[in-house]
Amino acid sequence: MKGLAWLMQLLTGLALTILVAYHFLITHIFGSLQLEDVVARFHELREFYTILLIVVAFHAFNGLSVIVEELGWRKFTRIFYAIMVGVVAYGLFLLMSV
């Protein structure tokens, strides 16, 4: 992993430690997983979940493309970026439509 993708993997990884910890706290400690609470969080924290979705999707699928590249399957790396776009699009659709 080199250049911008490498730097972004580090930065998104750092950001995720904070974002995921906050997500865990508001879902499992200070909030609940009941439907009303989930829907309320979708509405009240839409910006937070949009950022979390984009950051986590990039980190996950950029990471998978790196693993595939290191295994020597370089031509498959772009598939993960395509899946990343699909996951972000679907996640945003869910966020905006609930």
Binding site: L10, G13, L14, L16, T17, V20, F24, H28, I29, L33, Q34, L35, V38, V39, F42, V56, A57, A60, F61, G63, L64, I67, V87, Y90, G91, L94, S97, V98
Partner: protein, 107 residues
């Protein structure tokens, strides 16, 4: 016998793949908020039978996060002299955080 560093490296990769798969499953699960099956499904995932999977997921997530911070520290050329201490600390911090989180979720 592989070194602890090699084990940490492969664990980071394996936990990363599992978390990526979980991300997709999580989005599929959230689809049920829209389709109306969420309330019945969340009862299943909050049941005692599902608790071991939850705890395993927390362990995987905490390890990936703590080990990731260790890797970032070394990538920026910091604390390389203490790499062995940091490596052991990663496993200890993971265990401590996991116990705290597990107790919070169980109680």
């Amino acid at each position: 016998m592989p070194s602890l560093n090699t084990i940490a490296f492969y664990l980071h990769r394996i936990t990363g793949v599992i978390l990526a798969i979980y991300l997709c499953m999580h989005l599929c699960f959230l689809t049920t908020v829209k389709t109306g099956q969420y309330s019945s499904l969340i009862k299943v995932t909050l049941s005692k039978q599902f608790l071991p999977f939850d705890l395993l997921l927390f362990l995987i997530g905490i390890y990936h996060g703590v080990n990731g911070i260790r890797l970032i520290i070394h990538e920026f050329g910091l604390l390389y002299r203490y790499r062995r201490v940091l490596l052991y600390s990663t496993f200890i911090i993971t265990a401590v955080l996991w116990i705290i989180v597990a107790l919070e979720v169980i109680m």
